[in-house]
Point group: C2
């Protein structure tokens, strides 16, 4: 299933027990990172995640707290023996930023493939079996939110296949959605498959102000990992100025989007104990959790 590990939950500056922003997403043994703040490689070490199977690193934007850990992670991936290309995704500016940061990692044993994503129209792309989409968000720098989906095929109905007298050898093709012809008879997948089933959807939003477009974009996420830079509602002027969210705003966003669970992350270094403000969020959206470094979860398909 979809394994998540919040490698770092700090915003702006790391704290002794709080690395900067990064999320590790694993599916069927392949991995991707979203953002890569200072300390990411250490947090991965602490979690024994390994480095070699990172197939992509996706950036929301290029503020330093989301990318300073990149050179170290790139070297760790190389030291782990990766030789397959690694894809880096992010908004416009990616190529210039990566060119700058990799001045200190000139001899990686694998190729970096840089993919600048279109902003206004959003982008959709695939990393292995993960389907990613982006949405532009309001921040003090060009910034995008992500959602990641795992598709789930419809259930295969063996009784229907038997009724149609399709030899079991051919079932796998129909199950994969392919038409087949057996002894001059044509069979279609929909003859032996059940109705569409809900896959998994993960939302990732940091840094951003809330918006109606985000509500639509995050609709029905199983889990939303969302910035909560400030717990205290009195910090609203700062949140507006710097393009961040209050706990209460993230909770309203989760509620409006009908997500199942909300994790808050990207905490201001001025807020060493975000738990103190949790109730502000749970009063609005009860299934809110406070993120912490290496908070992990396994998202599984619901029946």
């Amino acid at each position: 299933m979809l394994d998540l590990c919040l490698l770092g939950c700090g915003g702006t500056m790391p704290l002794p027990d709080r690395f900067l922003t990064s999320l590790l997403v694993s599916y069927k043994g392949r991995r991707l990172l979203i953002d890569c703040g200072e300390g990411t490689q250490v947090s991965m070490k602490m979690e024994n995640t390994g480095y070699k199977n990172i197939d992509a690193i996706c950036f929301t934007h290029f503020h330093a707290d989301h990318i300073t850990g990149l050179p170290g992670v790139l070297l760790a991936i190389g030291n782990a023996g990766r030789t397959e290309p690694l894809a880096l995704y992010g908004p416009k500016g990616l190529i210039e930023v990566i060119k700058g940061l990799t001045v200190i990692t000139p001899f990686l044993p694998y190729e970096l493939i840089l993919k600048e994503l279109p902003i206004n129209e959003g982008a959709s792309f695939q990393v292995g079996e993960l389907f990613l989409s982006t949405l532009p968000v309001e921040h003090s720098l060009t910034c995008i939110a992500y959602h990641i989906e795992v598709k789930r095929g419809p259930v295969f109905l063996p009784d229907k296949a038997k009724d149609l007298e399709i030899p079991p050898y051919y079932w796998k093709y129909l199950q994969r959605g392919e038409e087949i012809e057996v002894e001059n008879k044509r069979f279609l997948p929909e003859q032996v498959l059940g109705p569409p089933r809900k896959g998994l959807k993960l939302g990732y939003v940091t840094d951003a102000r809330p918006s109606d477009a985000l509500v639509d974009f995050l609709k029905d996420c199983h889990l939303l990992i969302c910035e909560g830079m400030y717990g205290d509602d009195e910090k609203l002027p700062g949140a507006i100025t710097y393009g961040h969210m209050l706990f209460s705003e993230a909770a309203h966003l989760a509620k409006k989007a009908g997500v199942h669970e909300l994790w808050l992350t990207h905490f201001s270094p001025s807020m060493p104990d975000p738990e103190n403000y949790l109730e502000i969020a749970t009063d609005i959206f009860p299934n809110t959790k406070i993120g912490f470094d290496r908070k992990s979860e396994k998202l599984t398909f619901t029946p």
Copy 2:
């Protein structure tokens, strides 16, 4: 006096309890860093050193483990309110590397002054009241060692000043080494000052192979902070290939240079417990200590 704090003692990759290479040197309230690996800003936070009074950052070379922490430290210095220029020193390549890394710190509230140091002939420069000198060393990349000296003026001898009938108001000028003329009589500093006194000398060597030139360069250091990438003597072939030192080589260097104390640092991530190899070094140079993150010392003038 000269306050030292070894902010990070890791080489190549950080470990959960070991940040990458950095040393903080403080003298009379002003500070400088040598190297700035990933985690430097966190280690400073843990030690409550503050960021604003960092006047210079000196680099030995530009392998990532010595510089990945720079963008975070630059931002922390800015957030702390610094507006005075900050000087960055290092071997050739400094300008290109800093230009690359600062692509993610475009709006610092202070100026960066970049000073590429000559390599082969060494360099000498001053940061506040600290006198720094460099020496090229053998590593897999252009690299320099540093020593830092605090000069100590000769003692002032008031009895001699009284014998010469110099009014006390003028003593301070002589003490500072200036000639004076009082009522048509000329006085020279050497008439009222004692013999030269030994100042303080700190050596910093990482990454490097040992050499005779290093022995001369480090002569009579009070403290030598030196890389000990590998504890086990059987790692010599790797040390030669990658341009590093064994504990035993660092200890021989300390002994030959006649330093007072040796700290080992820049440990390979394959060596989680460098203490296990300490005896190899102390058998050669008894006053050897194993470095650890935030190991601190105050160097004081000896009588």
